[in-house]
């Protein structure tokens, strides 16, 4: 396999993890909440795609987006809003609980074997003939990823609600005192997270059409790792971290010999521990703004 091929695949996977990272970092920004249950939004999107396979493609995609956003809002209203005053570790355990409860729900509703979601399977074709294998889905991933990241950046930088979200992320109490509506801002962050999760579900099912109850959890754990490694305090660094972890897993997976490839997660997580110890604020964060306490 050529180096160029490795890079193309790495960039494609990196784009998906960047989207996961933005979803996690947006919610963390306004609520200080590390959302383990983000993956369940992705799983929900995957199952919706599988169930609506018979519908026209555009309807299927629309329904998926609606379902993901609705579930994100429901999650926030039922489980996370009552815990808004609690410490970050308490809410972390709560999102863990929500994630597992929803996995139970998937297991009850759809069984352990998994469903096939191949709505956009036609995208899994080569763009051009030749040695380099570039599929349409890779192009779509980059385009959708870029579009959504650009859109989020525009929203945060140029609109009133974006300004309010940034204010809430900087100092939640001060923002409320100045008239920012907490519920609106937080709900809006979850709407965006739901939208991003739907995009990840749609893009990911093209490559891995089998949706199982743990479909989203695996993606989220790695995405979360990317966010923390990049620097969770700022959207830019978190996104970069997500991209880096996706790129790294893909490229390392190609570079390692087959019998060592199975240990890839160990290498990645070892790297995570190293980053947390050496640069606790994140690899791409400015070192002075240390967000993580150490003793």
């Amino acid at each position: 396999m050529s180096v160029l091929q490795s890079i193309v695949d790495g960039v494609a996977l990196g784009a998906v993890y960047a989207l996961v990272a933005v979803g996690l970092a947006l919610v963390f920004g306004v609520m200080r909440l590390i959302n383990f249950a983000h993956g369940e939004l992705i799983t929900a999107g995957g199952y919706t795609l599988a169930l609506t396979a018979a519908f026209p493609k555009i309807a299927s995609v629309t329904i998926t987006v609606v379902v993901c956003i609705a579930l994100a809002l429901l999650m926030e209203r039922v489980a996370f809003r009552p815990l808004r005053a609690a410490s970050p570790t308490t809410t972390l355990v709560a999102t863990f609980a929500v994630a597992f409860a929803l996995q139970g729900v998937w297991l009850i509703a759809f069984g352990p074997e998994g469903r096939t979601a191949d709505v956009l399977a036609s995208l899994n074709q080569r763009v051009f003939e030749g040695d380099l294998d570039v599929r349409w889905i890779t192009v779509t991933m980059l385009a959708v990823g870029g579009l959504l990241l650009g859109g989020t950046a525009f929203l945060l930088g140029r609109t009133t609600i974006g300004l309010q979200m940034r204010a809430a992320a900087a100092d939640f109490r001060a923002a409320r005192l100045l008239g920012v509506r907490a519920d609106t801002v937080i709900s809006f962050a979850f709407v965006l997270a739901g939208l991003l999760a739907a995009a990840v579900a749609i893009l990911l099912t093209v490559q891995r059409p089998l949706v199982t109850p743990t479909f989203g959890l695996e993606v989220t754990i790695l995405g979360l790792v990317g966010v923390v490694v990049g620097g969770i305090d700022r959207l830019g660094t978190a996104t970069l971290g997500g991209f880096a972890i996706g790129f790294l897993t893909s490229v390392l997976g190609d570079a390692l010999p087959a019998d060592e490839r199975v240990f890839l997660p160990s290498f990645v997580f070892l790297l995570v521990i190293l980053v947390l110890l050496l640069r606790p604020a994140g690899l791409f964060a400015r070192p002075s703004k240390t967000a993580v306490e150490r003793v």
Binding site: V93, A101, I221, V228, L276
Partner: protein, 365 residues
């Protein structure tokens, strides 16, 4: 507080949970063999959750990594008690010194505890510098690495296959004694100077450092003890089940034990024991119900997955409504005994207020 009173408090803090553990052990003996297994499993769960409590409860730092010590203990104890005569055929890739030796039941439990403690000390040296969310993510990384290595390195174990033919030596007696040992260790640590220093650092890290407490050292000590207890619990677990896979000691067990600890009340031994027993019995009941069971009036069959839905909802509810857990994070106490030992009675409004103040809930760091 008088010396007698302090001793009585300590005795009560140990004896009340210990009596509950013994009660479960004794009642389990009268049950049908199938149900007896649920009682043994509950006692093993108590041991794991006590191990988790020793670190999380006293330090206030969250750990998602303790199941890696359970996993190490379970695989070590299991591997070393399979007779050396059959090991090479079961696991041909094994390192020679692992394949050629085997040990008895008790040495295997000691080995599990030692390895768990050693592993915890090693990862703890760097990791105990972290707090809050970073500690959560870093300990999760330890779990992922342990799981990944155990699952794919066939020189040290069965890899992705099941480790089977492990002697099933953990009965009610060993499980009860095991849980009692863990409870005694937890209370001894809790009341020792390092335990008190660690709790001081949980309440107010800067103040603790200001009076000369080395937080890193206290956390590392608690993490090591906790890791040793977790490894020991893993040894008990594998000797109950007789066979084990890496998936049994991974995210699901992490979630289950964390739920037990939080539901019971993380900052007290009493909370750990109560939470582990309640959730464990509930979980066994629900798992039985998933296969169809007879409840007093009617046949009940729950679909697969119901148990984690119910536990997830219960855990979330507990965090929202009562984040100190069922026990509110308090140790067991017997009011009449305290009153008898409190002579001469303290002047009204003084004395008692101080030591009756409820502890802060553990996760509110």
């Amino acid at each position: 507080m008088t010396r007698a009173r302090r001793f009585a408090d300590g005795a009560v803090e140990f004896l009340v949970p210990a009596c509950l553990i013994v009660l479960v052990g004794v009642v389990g003996g009268f049950m049908a063999p199938g149900t007896e297994e649920d009682f043994i499993a509950a006692l093993v769960a108590v041991t794991i959750v006590i191990a988790l409590h020793v670190f999380v409860g006293n330090s206030g730092v969250l750990s998602f990594g303790h199941i890696s010590f359970v996993a190490l203990g379970a695989f070590a104890a299991g591997l070393m008690t399979i007779p050396a005569t059959v090991k090479p055929t079961l696991m041909p890739e094994l390192f020679p010194f692992l394949a050629e030796h085997d040990v008895g039941n008790i040495p295997s439990l000691v080995l599990a505890a030692a390895l768990g403690g050693l592993f915890a000390a090693l990862v703890g040296i760097p990791l105990m510098r972290l707090s809050g969310l970073a500690a959560g993510i870093a300990t999760l990384a330890v779990l992922e690495i342990t799981h990944n290595v155990l699952r794919f390195w066939e020189k040290i174990g069965p890899g992705a296959k099941t480790l089977s033919l492990v002697p099933e030596t953990t009965g009610l007696f060993q499980a009860t004694v095991g849980a009692l040992i863990a409870a005694a260790a937890a209370i001894a640590f809790r009341r020792s100077p390092p335990g008190r220093k660690l709790r001081a650092s949980r309440e107010d890290p800067p103040a603790a450092q200001a009076v000369g407490i080395n937080i890193h050292r206290q956390r590392l000590l608690a993490f090591t003890i906790s890791g040793a207890l977790a490894g020991f619990a893993g040894g008990l677990m594998v000797h109950q089940l007789g066979s084990i896979t890496t998936e049994q000691v991974y995210l699901d067990l992490t979630f289950l034990t964390l739920a037990m600890l939080v539901i019971g009340g993380a900052s007290s031994l009493w909370g750990a024991v109560v939470g582990a027993l309640l959730v464990s019995f509930l979980d066994s009941f629900l798992l039985n119900a998933e296969n169809g069971t007879n409840v007093v009036v009617a046949e009940l069959t729950l679909p697969n997955g119901s148990s984690i839905v119910i536990l997830g909802v219960l855990l979330a509810l507990m965090l929202i409504l009562r984040s100190g857990g069922i026990t509110g994070g308090r140790e067991a106490s017997l009011p009449f005994l305290r009153a008898a030992l409190a002579a001469p009675p303290p002047p009204p409004g003084a004395g008692r207020a101080q030591d009756e103040r409820p502890e802060r809930t553990v996760l509110d760091v």
